[in-house]
């Protein structure tokens, strides 16, 4: 990204951050959701977009973060500290899990990562003494005003989203991002050019978990009641993927844009079609696959590629100087 792009992104970020000025509670809630969705989609982007590993573990990280945060807050740990701990627990879990399953490829990896979430649901449901099982878990209610609360959660979640964006930007510019890009395109050749593929994949998987854990914990504090089927919902794994694909997986801004568009789409469909909103969402998803296979940002990239192809004949005819 060039300087101009960075500046314009920064301006947009700042404008959205000023949302509370409008004082509209519903907008604030949407803004908070946007922060959360952006965090999830951008985090998934690291493992799914850059490294090309179709991870369905987002729900596992999210739920784990939510329960870590909720349990710690329940035990009297201050909320911000509980959030940080949730990040840490999700990251640690991802690192260990990554060591165990990142040798799997394609569908097998997808399934393994999906099932991890299922196992955690079962554990959370069965371990009643700790998690309250199916009865769910209540968090301590915050002693502060309605407005202050909604501002607090908006800014917290939004900050997390911005952090996720920053993480993507840093990864994309670093050796890690470069290496992941290579792994996605050709893992064997990547090892051959000296990339420690296992380590890079585990790092990517960990990156894809750390902020999601935080998002889970914030979410728990925000709704102050969690239950296993909710925080480990499979949709929590699927939606970020759709968002990332929508915006453009493997790009820095794509997933954030996708999260925004998806949120708007979801809200619009949801409020206008009471009984058939999931069918309409389904149609939109199918349409996206066929009409926007590379996401919104893919349109721009396509143009750039076309320009290079136009120059090719000269290269093909090149002779020794």
């Amino acid at each position: 990204m060039n300087k101009k792009a960075v500046v314009s992104v920064a301006v947009v970020v700042a404008i959205i951050a000023a949302l509370p000025v409008l004082g509209d509670n519903y907008l604030m809630r949407l803004g908070t959701m946007f922060g959360m969705y952006a965090t999830l989609a951008l985090s998934w982007n690291i493992i799914g977009g850059y490294a090309g590993y179709p991870s369905f573990a987002t729900a596992a990280f999210f739920g784990l973060g939510a329960y870590t945060g909720a349990l710690l807050q329940g035990a009297g740990v201050p909320m911000p500290l509980a959030w940080v701990a949730a990040c840490a627990s999700a990251a640690l879990f991802a690192a260990l899990l990554g060591l165990a399953i990142l040798h799997l490829k394609g569908h097998y990896f997808a399934i393994a990562s999906l099932i991890v979430g299922e196992v955690l649901v079962e554990v959370a449901t069965s371990w009643r003494s700790l998690t309250g099982g199916g009865m769910g878990l209540n968090l301590p209610v915050l002693r502060m005003g309605v407005e202050a609360q909604s501002r607090l959660f908006f800014w917290s979640m939004y900050t997390l989203g911005v952090l996720a964006l920053l993480m993507n930007w840093l990864v994309a510019r670093s050796r890690l991002g470069f290496g992941l890009n290579c792994i996605r395109q050709n893992e064997d050749a990547s090892a051959m050019v000296g990339i420690n593929t296992k380590r890079y994949k585990v790092m990517a998987f960990t990156c894809s978990a750390v902020l999601v854990g935080g998002a889970g914990a914030m979410y728990a504090s925000w709704v102050y009641y969690i239950e296993p089927p909710d925080v480990f919902d499979v949709l929590t794994s699927v939606k970020p993927i759709v968002m990332a694909l929508l915006g453009g997986a493997g790009t820095v801004l794509g997933p954030a844009i996708g999260a925004g568009v998806f949120l708007v789409m979801e809200e619009v469909v949801w409020r206008n079609f009471l009984d058939v909103h999931s069918a309409i969402l389904g149609i939109l998803i199918v349409a996206l696959i066929f009409l926007l296979p590379n996401g919104l940002l893919g349109l721009a990239i396509r143009r750039r590629k076309a320009a290079i192809v136009a120059r090719l004949p000269t290269l093909a005819k090149r002779r020794k100087a």
Partner: protein, 288 residues
């Protein structure tokens, strides 16, 4: 005796599981597509059987044919119209596509049939048979035998029939199959149709046993997943063995560790299996 009863419970359940999974496995193996629609296909099959019984008095065992035909047509059309265009695309594309289609189909069923649970009450149930302390629920056993029979039929179809050999050939080497004159896109559509057909047939057997509602689709999809990975994907015998194994494991886990942990145990085993032997119990040899 307790163990024998639990073993029988597990086998009866497992036979149905195998039948649920076999079509999913076939599609996965041949097209390399994870068909998220599979659970909804099963439910649709159940509805066909339900309405056939309630309105026409057709016993669910016979409506296997009807449900199979309806689902085959649906699957064939979906594949030819939509999914064929993304076969060979990255995992995520096909997954998200079938996910979207599933939202659509499931919602459509919800609107058409409502979420109310329905169940078939047979006019002449077979009842149960008591052998000492062991009880055989006969309708369930019959369903299971039908389920295994259908799975066996599919096995024969793939091994013996012309189209079956074409499907197997495409699965092994699509280009070589094309060189034999196999029309690959059509075989894909037929395979997807057959996968849906098996789901429909399984659905009509399940209509006798489980309450029917569109809400159950994710459970059936989950079972198909687990069985398929356990047995080795794309393998008919694998699905059969995986299904029976899952049924038995679930039953004994419920006995020894508690009914609320049956699924946890199955999932945990699955993760371990994936980690150490991702090709499933039967491995790659399981096919055919």
């Amino acid at each position: 005796m307790l163990y024998l009863q639990v073993l029988i419970n597990g086998l009866v359940l497992g036979g149905l599981y195998a039948c649920i999974a076999v079509g999913f496995s076939l599609v996965w193996g041949v097209l390399n597509v994870i068909n998220i629609l599979h659970g909804s296909f099963v439910i649709l099959g159940s509805y066909v059987a339900y309405f056939a019984y309630v309105h026409l008095g057709i016993h669910p065992f016979y409506s296997i044919i009807l449900a199979g035909a309806v689902l085959f047509a649906l699957g064939y059309a979906l594949q030819l119209g939509l999914i064929n265009r993304v076969v060979g695309a990255p995992v995520l594309t096909t997954l998200v596509l079938t996910f979207g289609l599933d939202l659509l189909l499931n919602n459509a069923m919800l609107v058409a049939f409502s979420a109310d649970y329905r169940s078939i009450q047979l006019a002449n149930p077979l009842g149960r048979m008591d052998l000492g302390e062991v009880t055989l629920p006969l309708d369930r056993v019959a369903s299971m035998l039908f389920a295994l029979g259908l799975t066996g039929l599919l096995y024969l179809l793939l091994g013996r029939s012309r189209i079956g050999r074409a499907i197997v050939a495409v699965r092994m080497d699509r280009e070589a199959a094309a060189l034999m004159g196999v029309r690959v896109r059509r075989v894909y559509a037929i395979t997807f149709g057959v996968g849906a057909m098996m789901a429909g047939a399984a659905g009509s057997l399940l209509a006798l046993i489980f309450p029917i509602s569109p809400l159950n689709s994710s459970e059936f999809l989950g079972i198909a997943f687990v069985v398929c990975v356990m047995g080795g994907l794309g393998s008919i015998t694998g699905a059969m063995i995986g299904g029976l194994a899952l049924g038995v494991i679930e039953s004994f886990a419920a006995l020894f560790i508690g009914p609320e942990h049956g699924l946890t145990i199955a999932f945990t085993l699955l993760i371990l299996l994936l980690m150490f032997k991702p090709t499933g119990i039967m491995g790659r040899r399981g096919y055919e």
